[in-house]
Amino acid sequence: MAEQVTFAIAAIGALGFGIGVVFFRDAFRAAVSLIGTLLAVALLFIVLEAPFVAALQVIVYAGAIVVMFLFVIAYLGDRPIVPGTDRMDAVQPVAWIALAGVAAFGAITVLASAIGPEHSVSDTNVGSPASIGHAFLNQHIIAFEVTSLIMLIAAVGAVILAKRAVMLEGGR
């Protein structure tokens, strides 16, 4: 019972804040909406007995990524967009239909497919840090290493881009 209620709250929250991300004019508000979505999703993770992932969601996603967004939004300012020059104006209705189609497609797929028996008995150890650590280092060691490589590349890339930005500014 509690699970269902929590699910409902989290789901509605996620969708609601998602709508906010998509529809808020103000960039700042949209970013903050995203925080809401992320927290709702983290709640869902907890319900799904994946506390470690939920914690990381909050720390990394909401705590670092969105903060970066907010920094850049603050730096670049909120420059107004000239109305009426939207290149996608012509296909807007088609876009809506397409999205509806995708939604329908997803719904049908989900409902039409029989996704195995539901386990009533769950192994709460699955979501624990120990379990995840074991899995990382035993079965998914390659993914582990590649992931760290990606982070390294991203860091190097960021430095280069930053240098570029500085040079454009006139610095060295």
């Binding site: 290149r87 876009a95 397409a98 995708v102 329908a104 497609f105």
Partner: protein, 638 residues
Amino acid sequence: MATTLAWFILLLPLLGGIVLASWPGEPPRAVTRLIGIGSIATAFVLALVIFFTMLGNAPSDRTFVSGLYQWISIGGTSLDLSVLVDPLSIMMVLIITGVGMLIHVFSAEYMEHDRDYRRFFAEMNLFVFSMLLLVLAGNFFFLIVGWAFVGLASYLLIGFWYERPSAVAAAKKAFVMNVIGDVGLVLGAFLIMRELGTLDYQQAFARAGDLGQNSGTALAVCLLLFVGAAAKSAQIPLHTWLPDAMEGPTPVSALIHAATMVTAGVYLIVRCHAIFQMSELAGDIIAVIGALTLLMAATVALQQVDIKRVLAWSTVSQIGYMIMGAGLGAYSAAMFHLLMHAFFKACLFLAAGIVIHALHDEQSLDRMGNLRKYLRVAYFGMGMGCLAIAGFPGFDAFFSKDDILATSLAAGPVGVFCWVVGVIGAFITAVYMFRLLFRAFWGPDPKGGYAHAPHASGWWMAVPVSILGVLSLVAGWIQVPFGWSGINDWLAPVLADVKNPLEPTHAGEWLTIGFSTAAALGGIALAWWLFAADPERRIRLANVARGPRQLMDNAYDFDRAYDDLFVEPGRELGTVLLDDVEPAGPKGLITGTTAVIRDTARVISASENGLVRTYAFGIVAGLALAGVVLAIVVAGAS
């Protein structure tokens, strides 16, 4: 042995030509002379050897055939690279190498100042080779090969001074007309192959009866062969190239357009007499064409002012005599005249060459006069030649022309017609030839005098002219009516299969001798009265018969007619093809294809507009589409 020598006769000029053609740079003049003249001279010596060997044999034993190797074997017949050495071909070979040798010696000095000395001798040698191949060939195939090469050599030599547009145009004209003749000849050969099953001379002539006497097939074959002969020998209507061919150097005109190449048509008819006598109608047509050409050319020659053009039209006219004779069946008479004509026409051309050389390339009669004072040798040669061609008693053509005329009297009504035309032609011939002689060599110096006195020629040029001049005088005595007949006897083995040999009657002989002598003397007298007695008289009479003379001046407008009938439509066709057909057709196909590809690419590249959001939209739309398809499939499956 004779045939081995014949192969060498063929080989020597070919080698000479190839060596000179492929010589890197310019060899010393002496070397060019040695190779160029030497090859022909050696060939002449070898030809003499064959000739004397033949004389040593019995008349029936004078035909030799030699095949070098088998070219093709089709069906039951085979085609060999073979030569036929018999009295007829050796006669032609002697003319080609003998007169050719004299002309080569002449050109050693005549072409002295020309930059392209080596190329000249190379091309002349190649011409001699081609002509020898033509007359020595043992079958129709190699006849045609030689025929075509001769046309090529003629083109090369007419257009020798290729920097002159007029020379290039004349060369093209000659070549195109020759090709028309080639087509006729080749078609005739096709028919012969089909009807008689072979292209070999001896076999084909033996089976000539299979064509059917006076049948349509025989007529067709004969007329097709005659098209070739007419083109090469410049008879109506394919004659217009010969006067223009005078753009080439004078030795070329002497060798090709007087002594040898243009006589190839006559040789063809005489060689294929077995076929030609299968169709009397064809023979009559040929004879009439020859007669008309003879007369027309003579009248045109009256009006010409360029010394070489007079001689060119004269050649057309004299060959008309030969063709006329050959058409009627007077084969050995035609060959007799061919031999005589080679001597005196070459003599005339070379003498004219001396004049042109001396006057620094002046060719117009209007600016000549009194040359007998300055150019003795040329005067001698020209004089001998004119007396010969006019038929002055005792000289060359007196005997040969009369032989043709007398024999044609015995050939029925057509023959009589030809006789009349021939006599009239003889009269006009005398007039225009002596017009040439008197205007150039007698009378006073031309108006304004000569810039510098014409310088006499060296012995390279003088000796050949003198030799030919003497030959013009005495060679005719080889066949005298009521006496002996050297040519007839010589050619008898070849002409053994003539069915109704023509023999002039005694009455016919005397009639001919009388009328032709009268025509000759009368013509000379008229020419003297018009041009020599009072040099101003011709100017006073300039307006007499203006109309006809204008027509003659334009050579009866043949050139203009051809221009309107063939050249202009051809040009129109070319323009139409270029402007209309090509863009729509081949070019349109290519440009159309590229245009389609380009436009398609342009349409497709419109989707690459660089906007991220449209790309995202594309993904979404594709996903939706996939979903729809999946839904349908799933719904259909269940």
